[in-house]
Every structure is written in C-alpha cells, then in structure tokens.
C-alpha cells in the first residue's frame, strides 16, 4: 500500500519501538530531549545540544525510542531507584520516603519527548489519534518493560500541571498535590504522579475505558524489543559525560563511588577526575 493513502496500521508499520541499542540512537534521544525541552523553555541552550544527567550512566537506566529510517522521533527513559535516588527526589524526597519505607520498588519515567516538527505540541495528545498512538505505543513499551522485566511496584513521574489531567485519565494518582518548581527545568512547575502497578490492571478494568484497557493489557510487548540495550563502554562514558556534557562537575563522592562500583571492570582514570574520587 502506498503510504500516501495509508491507514493507521500502515502509517505505524514503519515505526519501530524498542530500547536504544547504539551510541547514535542514545545521542539522538538525548538530542531530541534537548531540542524539545529548549522549545518548551525548560532548559537553556548548551553547546552539546544534549540533555542527560548522571542517572543516564546508571547501568539499569533504559532509554526507549520510536524510530523511523534510523531517526529517533520519540523517546522516554526509565530510571530505577538506586542509592542515587530518582531525579524527582530533588523535589519529592519526603513524599517518596513513604513508598520506600514500604520497600516499594520505584522507577521514574523521565526525558519524555517527541519530535514536535512531526506532530506539533499544539496537537492534543488525548484528542488526536496519530499523536496518541505515537506516544501510547512508547508508553506501552515502558509499561511492559517495568512490569515484565523489572517487576516494579510504582511508576513515578513529574509532569507540568498543564498535563496533569492527561495522567489522571491514565489512572496515575497524585503523589503530592502541591505544585513545586523544578530548578532543573528553569523553574517550571511540576506535580508528582505515581502509577500503582499492582492494582493498575484491575483499576483499568473498572474504569470503563475498555479501549484503553485493550491498548495496555491485550498482549505483551515482545521481550526481544528489550534486548541488546546499549551499554556504555569507556569511550562512550568519555564521549557523553565528559566531552559532550559536564555531568561529573559538582557531583559528590558517594555518587562517584556508586558509578565506579557500577563499572568495576573499567579504568575510569582521567574520565572521572581523581580529585573527586574517593
């Protein structure tokens, strides 16, 4: 079928959803987040034109992509809770403490972006079919990954309050209803939400949103889409975290120790400055 006359299935048949498997895919994902956050006014320009943090270096962090013809058009990153905490701990450490005290397994979905040149930010996620499927297929991958592969209890997320109703309709609950302001995104307002993964299937079935239920619970993502996740080699760590960013500047010795322990086989001398190593 010619794509010009394509229906929804043909349109999406050329988009592949899976984990990022190469340095180039990861770089594209970080660049996409940078570009879209910049357009939203969440960040200032930086020479690397990438958005990344120390959490991206944690081996358990997983970046998902939607890509077409080797071009990443949407991305989301799953960060598992660790001694480094979650990115949202900057604002919501006290609120997360309650979940952690119950030994709940937490992860945060972060760095969510899609190419707004392809589908404008003005187009409503929940009211436009193409945008909805573009993003929901990504959500589905993330959802199945954290349930099937990581056995998480909660997905946590911070969102701009203007998007709050979207996540409410996806059955997220407020972790805290107070609006806070994120210094990492130029002081943009944020609300924290959580999705309880142990109850979501029943909650969804009871919500009377049968098509949403079908979207997320009919069939599981092929686990091969989670295979071959990109693992940083020494050169990649140097490239992303030293040459293309200044992530190691200003981080503490405990954070450095955690990263060094995460890569025991690597000699990171000269990459992570000795002065801040333990």
């Amino acid at each position: 079928m010619m794509l010009e006359h394509a229906g929804m299935r043909s349109l999406f048949s050329g988009i592949e959803y899976r984990v990022a498997r190469s340095r180039d895919e990861l770089a594209q994902a970080y660049h996409l987040v940078y570009e879209e956050y910049l357009k939203q006014g969440y960040i200032h320009e930086n020479p690397s034109k990438m958005r990344l943090s120390l959490h991206n270096l944690i081996p358990e962090t997983t970046t998902f992509i939607a890509h077409v013809d080797s071009t990443v058009i949407a991305t989301a990153t799953v960060i598992l809770d660790s001694p480094l905490g979650l990115p949202m701990d900057e604002l919501y450490q006290n609120e997360l403490a309650g979940l952690r005290s119950e030994r709940a397994r937490l992860c945060e979905v972060s760095m969510l972006a899609h190419n707004s040149d392809l589908i404008s930010e003005k187009v409503s996620l929940m009211f436009n079919a193409r945008k909805m499927f573009l993003i929901f297929f990504l959500f589905k991958q993330v959802f199945d990954y954290v349930v099937q592969e990581e056995d998480m209890d909660y997905i946590c997320i911070t969102v701009n309050p203007k998007h709050s109703a979207i996540y409410d309709s996806l059955l997220f609950k407020n972790l805290d209803s107070e609006i806070k302001y994120y210094s990492k995104v130029n002081g943009a307002p944020a609300v924290a939400k959580i999705l309880n993964l142990s109850t979501i299937e029943n909650d969804s079935a009871a919500s009377k949103r049968q098509n949403m239920h079908k979207m997320f619970f009919n069939g599981r993502t092929d686990p091969r889409r989670f295979d071959e996740k990109f693992r940083f080699m020494i050169d990649d760590i140097k490239y992303f975290f030293v040459e293309r960013s200044n992530v190691f500047e200003g981080i503490g010795p405990e954070e450095i120790k955690y990263i060094l322990d995460a890569y025991p086989e690597y000699d990171l001398t000269g990459i992570i400055p000795r002065s801040i190593e333990l």
Partner: protein, 146 residues
Amino acid sequence: MGSQHLGKLRKIISSDKRLCERIEFPLKMFYAFQPEPGAELDWKGPVLLDNIGGEGVGFNDSVLIAKGAEILIRMYLPEDSVPVVFVGKVSWSKLSPVELKSAKKIYSYGIHIEKYDPVTESRFLGFMSDQILGKYMDDSGNLKDI
C-alpha cells in the same frame, strides 16, 4: 523503504491540520444560558449530539442561539452517573440543511469548550481518548488500516 518512510510520514502527519479527532457518538446533552444573578439554571434538552471532539461538540436544536453566546453544557458520559458540566461558546451556527424545507427551523451549532474543572477535564479526556482508540483498534487491540 529506506529513508522514504520518514519523509512520507512527515508529509502525511503535517498535512493533518486537525488538532482533535471528532467522533460521532449519540450522546444526549442539556444546555443552559448563564443565569442572571440569583436566578436558577433553565436546562434545555435533551438534544442529541451530532459529534464530539476534544475542543467541543456539535448539536442541532430548534432554539436560536446567537453566535458567541456562552452556554453551560451538561452531558452524561456512558456508564457514568455523574454528568460532566462545562462552559461552552457558540463558535458557529447555521440553518440545518436537512430541515430547510421543513416548517420548523432547525439550527446546527458548533460549541467550543471554554473551560471545565480539572476533574471534569480528566473524565472528558479519558472518555474521548477511549473513543478514539476504539475507532482505530480492532477487538484484539491491533491497529485497523483506516
């Protein structure tokens, strides 16, 4: 398919100027004009929706309503006992073509949703997104080629 798919995808998606999908759904709604201070709402209807979208609703009625008029809309989403209520504004109106020859004039209206509270917004988003998903997915949850 090479790099052609992205180009064509871009072309197709950018040619779609709709911000919101419109769904034909036989919902009944009531509407009321903003009351004078101290007066009670005078709900009119029910009238059957012509279509519904994220930005508003369309309906027909014999009552003439001025373009730009602000009205309250109340409707019951399926399997929901609590109605959603929002403020709408008449974006356009016209004499319904099918009723032109009829003795009784029927008008078609396009109502733009102006505001609703966050809980209503969430319920409305949930309903609309579910309808849109249902339009494009088969029973197994696979995309239809429409």
